[in-house]
């Protein structure tokens, strides 16, 4: 467990990491608590108050859209959906990736060669087009989006976990454990897994912005989240169509999306530098 706790200890000493982690927490909290306080819902149309510009008075801080829906409520809802999709999809990719990578790395040899050939082959594909194809063929659904994103992002995780497992497996301390008589299970759980944790946590933070990007991309193309549900990508897409009349409809969700992505990237970068100062994995 020390790998993880030392990561946390180091992370606290890094300003960029602390600031980004705090900001993300605050954004997530607001998006969760916001709907409880606000008296606007994200889906209720209000044709008397269409296309209102953002204002400090009058209740619509972020203005309204062409159906008179409150943009603040919609943005918060979008953040919620975007984060939720990203986290779940990343967990899916984490599960597949860690399992696949650890198995390939631990077994090694031809099995590893074959398994990694598959990953390399998949890497070479323009996955996003397959996702588009999938959405066109099977229709849009949240589940499909999660599966699609998870199915792409596990590749990175698998590679990293495999590399780490192999390098751990070759370390003399694993040989030492085998000579002592520690069982395979003991080696995996006592000797390899604790040393994998730090890296997995770091790459999880880097996988989330990837998932956000992909979900927003699909939603932007109209292939992702369906109305009345919304996500930041879908909001940006709506904003593009209105930007000449109502620029706030584009700028506000765009900035929200950019800030979230920036925070995750800074966080992941900072954590990676802590775990692996030379970027070897």
């Amino acid at each position: 467990m020390s790998a993880l706790s030392s990561l946390v200890r180091h992370a606290r000493s890094s300003r960029a990491v602390t600031v980004c982690a705090t900001m993300l927490l605050v954004i997530a909290m607001i998006s969760l608590i916001g709907p409880l306080i606000s008296n606007h819902s994200y889906f209720a149309a209000d044709f008397d108050n269409r296309m209102l510009a953002p204002t400090m008075t009058g209740g619509h801080f972020f203005g309204t859209d062409e159906l008179g829906r409150d943009l603040l409520a919609r943005t918060l809802s979008g953040i919620r959906v975007t984060l939720l999709v990203a986290v779940i999809a990343s967990l899916v990719s984490l599960g597949i990736g860690v399992l696949y990578g650890a198995v390939a790395g631990y077994i090694g040899g031809r099995v590893d060669g074959f398994m990694m050939r598959i990953v390399d082959g998949l890497y070479a594909l323009p996955f996003i087009f397959f996702v588009i194809l999938l959405m066109v063929a099977f229709g849009r659904s949240m589940l499909l989006i999660l599966i699609a994103i998870g199915a792409i992002n596990w590749l990175d995780m698998a590679r990293i976990v495999r590399g780490q497992t192999i390098s751990l497996k070759q370390r003399a301390f694993v040989d030492a454990a085998r000579l002592i008589g520690v069982s395979t299970r003991g080696i995996i759980f006592r000797h390899i897994t604790p040393n994998l944790l730090g890296v997995v946590v770091v790459y999880m933070t880097l996988a989330i912005p990837q998932a956000i990007l992909m979900e927003s991309f699909l939603s932007f193309l109209g292939l992702g989240i369906q109305a009345p549900q919304t996500s930041l990508g879908a909001l940006v897409s709506d904003g593009v169509s209105q930007m000449e009349q109502a620029s706030w409809l584009l700028v506000i969700p765009a900035v929200a999306l950019a800030v979230i992505l920036l925070c995750f990237n800074f966080l992941g970068d900072g954590l990676r530098d802590l775990v692996d100062p030379k970027g070897n994995t």
Partner: protein, 307 residues
């Protein structure tokens, strides 16, 4: 080296076949045929249509027919644009997509590499922080956010440049799409170049070169540049894929009549053969470009080449 190249080229063929198979299966496993959706057709007309599109054959037969077509460059008929084949539609859209994509990659390489080199050689100065800061924003802001914001600023508000590709005949119509498409790649390449050159400049062999009295410029030119570019070459494959993906967004936002815009309209129309054809085309592009990148890498790294 020749043997390696030959092996890599041969290895690309099954990948390509697999890609086509997956895409083909996805479309054909879709619930409901392409002509089910709108109105109910009389059975005999439906039968005729299905025969015309060979939908009455078994799946393996259809796949074999499709592969045969692909080899000849024929991606079948479009379900919606009745008068055109998919190949004709794609072929008509390729030049503009290629032009924008190639310009974006070129721009990204020139600006990204220069910025990365400068940041690495002036490490921890204001210039370095500026480059790393902008690059961080560049990789975080997606193309579909960046592109509309550029339109908003430079076209809608300032009115310096046309908002749409079709709004002008001059080269200025290329400017916004190319920059929007290149931006994230500039950022990635700058970060990669910087990190990689810093790494190389800290290596023992650069220390040797310093001990031999070589000027920094000579060290970069004769010792550090080539190894520092290796990670960049590996990144080129993903970069090509990202530019292709981004081009879908950019073509959509700027109304560029390219392959990507066809993809969007085709997915909205559920034009299966067109979406399938474009996917196969993109996949082939990416597999091909990855092949080129691998060969380039082997050419640059003597340890791969002389194996």
């Amino acid at each position: 080296m020749l043997r390696y190249a030959f092996a890599r080229i041969l290895g690309a063929i099954p990948t390509l076949l697999l890609v086509i198979a997956i895409a083909f299966l996805m479309v054909h496993a879709a619930p409901g045929g392409p002509f089910d959706s709108e109105r109910v057709l009389p059975p005999d007309i439906k039968e005729n249509i299905e025969r015309a599109y060979h939908l009455d054959e078994t799946l393996p037969q259809q796949f074999y027919r499709y592969i045969k077509g692909v080899v000849r460059g024929d991606l079948g008929p479009s379900y919606r644009y009745r008068d055109f084949s998919v190949s004709e539609l794609i072929a008509g859209a390729i030049p503009v997509t290629m032009r924008i994509g190639a310009l974006a990659i070129l721009l990204a390489l020139i600006v990204g590499i220069s910025a990365g080199l400068i940041a690495a050689l002036r490490r921890n100065t204001v210039l370095d922080r500026l480059v790393t800061g902008i690059a961080m924003i560049g990789i975080s802001v997606p193309v579909f956010v960046f592109a509309p914001l550029m339109v908003l600023v430079f076209a809608v508000t300032l009115k310096w440049l046309p908002a749409s590709y079709t709004g002008s005949d001059g080269a200025d119509r290329l400017l916004l799409p190319v920059i929007a498409l290149a931006m994230p790649q500039i950022a990635f390449i700058a970060r990669l170049t910087r990190a990689s050159l810093i790494d190389v400049m800290n290596s023992d062999y650069v220390r040797t070169a310093k001990a031999q009295g070589l000027k920094t410029l000579s060290i970069v030119r004769y010792h550090a540049f080539r190894p520092a570019m290796l990670p960049l070459i590996s990144y080129l494959g993903p970069a090509f894929a990202a530019v292709l993906t981004g081009s879908v967004v950019v073509e959509h936002v700027f109304g560029v009549p390219g392959v990507g815009r066809f993809l969007i309209t085709a997915s909205a129309n559920r034009d299966y053969t067109l979406v399938l054809g474009i996917t196969v085309f993109y996949a082939a592009m990416v597999v091909f470009l990855n092949l080129v990148v691998d060969l380039l890498y082997a050419f640059v790294d003597p340890r791969v080449r002389t194996r």
